[in-house]
Symmetry: C2
């Protein structure tokens, strides 16, 4: 089965270079060449290539915007590979947020570019190694579970439970109802929590819980 590819770059020279690279592969067919992002979007919608190789810098609509538009349309099954000369962090993050299947530098050896197209076509993703390293660093910090503060261990299970409900901005009465206990009980628990954690009031408790990732938008994978 042959893979169809769309090329988008405002430099004709680079386009022909890429086309030449792809032409060496019998199973890759370059079905379109465009010079700007808007054309890329419309041509992708028309031709539905397997993979679109977009330059980041393009007139009218840059590669990032084009990626977003292409992937925003669920009718498209085209995978997007982004190509750039320099690897600016901002680009990478936006590209990945937009759902690009790859982020590659133009310095990439031809055979690896070809391999990247195949990888993208089968639904996997590929990032330039020099970028990956920084991506990891960034990812690690965003993953970095704020080290659970030790004073949290002072809390009993019940108290932690109450803390979470407080963090969700529930009033004592609401918490009482939810736990099927009296509101005086809840007050006791809250007081203990505040005392143990050294917090002034429930407002600080809410901030504390969020800052320490007890409630944040935690993904399932812990």
């Amino acid at each position: 089965m042959t893979l169809t590819v769309l090329l988008a770059d405002d430099h004709a020279m680079l386009r022909s270079g890429l086309r030449a690279i792809f032409d060496t592969q019998p199973d890759l067919r370059c079905v379109a060449e465009v010079a700007d992002g808007r054309a890329a979007v419309t041509e992708v919608a028309r031709l539905r290539p397997d993979v679109a190789v977009l330059d980041i810098r393009m007139p009218k609509l840059d590669g990032l915007g084009a990626t977003e538009m292409i992937l925003a349309d669920p009718a498209n099954r085209t995978k997007v590979l982004l190509l750039t000369t320099y690897d600016t962090d901002e680009y990478v993050y936006r590209a990945l947020s937009a759902g690009a299947s790859g982020f590659l530098l133009k310095s990439l050896p031809p055979e690896e570019l070809i391999s990247a197209v195949r990888v993208a076509a089968r639904g996997d993703a590929l990032i330039d190694p020099s970028v990956t390293q920084r991506l990891i660093a960034r990812f690690a910090v965003s993953l970095a579970t704020p080290p659970t503060p030790p004073e949290l261990a002072l809390l009993t299970a019940r108290e932690r439970e109450v803390l979470l409900l407080v963090a969700a901005a529930h009033s004592n009465a609401e918490i009482a109802a939810q736990l099927h206990v009296g509101d005086e009980t809840v007050k006791t628990h809250v007081s203990r929590v505040l005392a143990k954690l050294g917090l002034r009031d429930r407002v600080h408790a809410v901030a504390y819980a969020h800052v320490n990732g007890l409630v944040g938008t935690r993904q399932p994978g812990r």
Copy 2:
């Protein structure tokens, strides 16, 4: 310049397979083979290889733990590549948090493994394409700036300012002091904020601000 490599895997067969692969490259020298994580840590500390290729599953100390120990020691300049049979999400995240330079599946073609070692040695990172795709997805959500709720536009600049201070768990009096205005003024602002955002009290405001990323642990890169 030749690169030194340490191999760690509890299966002797796999080790010899890897060694055979590396031996085809004149510039790669496999300087040690170990069968468990603890041995990997001590041998890395002793031999200081350029790259350590660790299996995830190993006796005594798994590859993840070994990675953490190796990279925790600043005296080590060894890069770590992790090898695994199956790509469980948990592994990937822990591996990247620990600072591994690569996360590869054992199904990787030999030549790409070699290339991965070279990539790691020069300080870049490499992740198996099939894993990268999910990594991106996960990364995207962690990057995804919670779309600023539209009702936030209703607030005046001053009100947003006050909201941020409220979100930081400051009392009205504290906010007043910080803004050099009377506390009655702050009360007015807070009331307006609550009304405009449809929040019950400042506790909800704190939660709101955190959930919507107005205050969260945002990285510098936006």
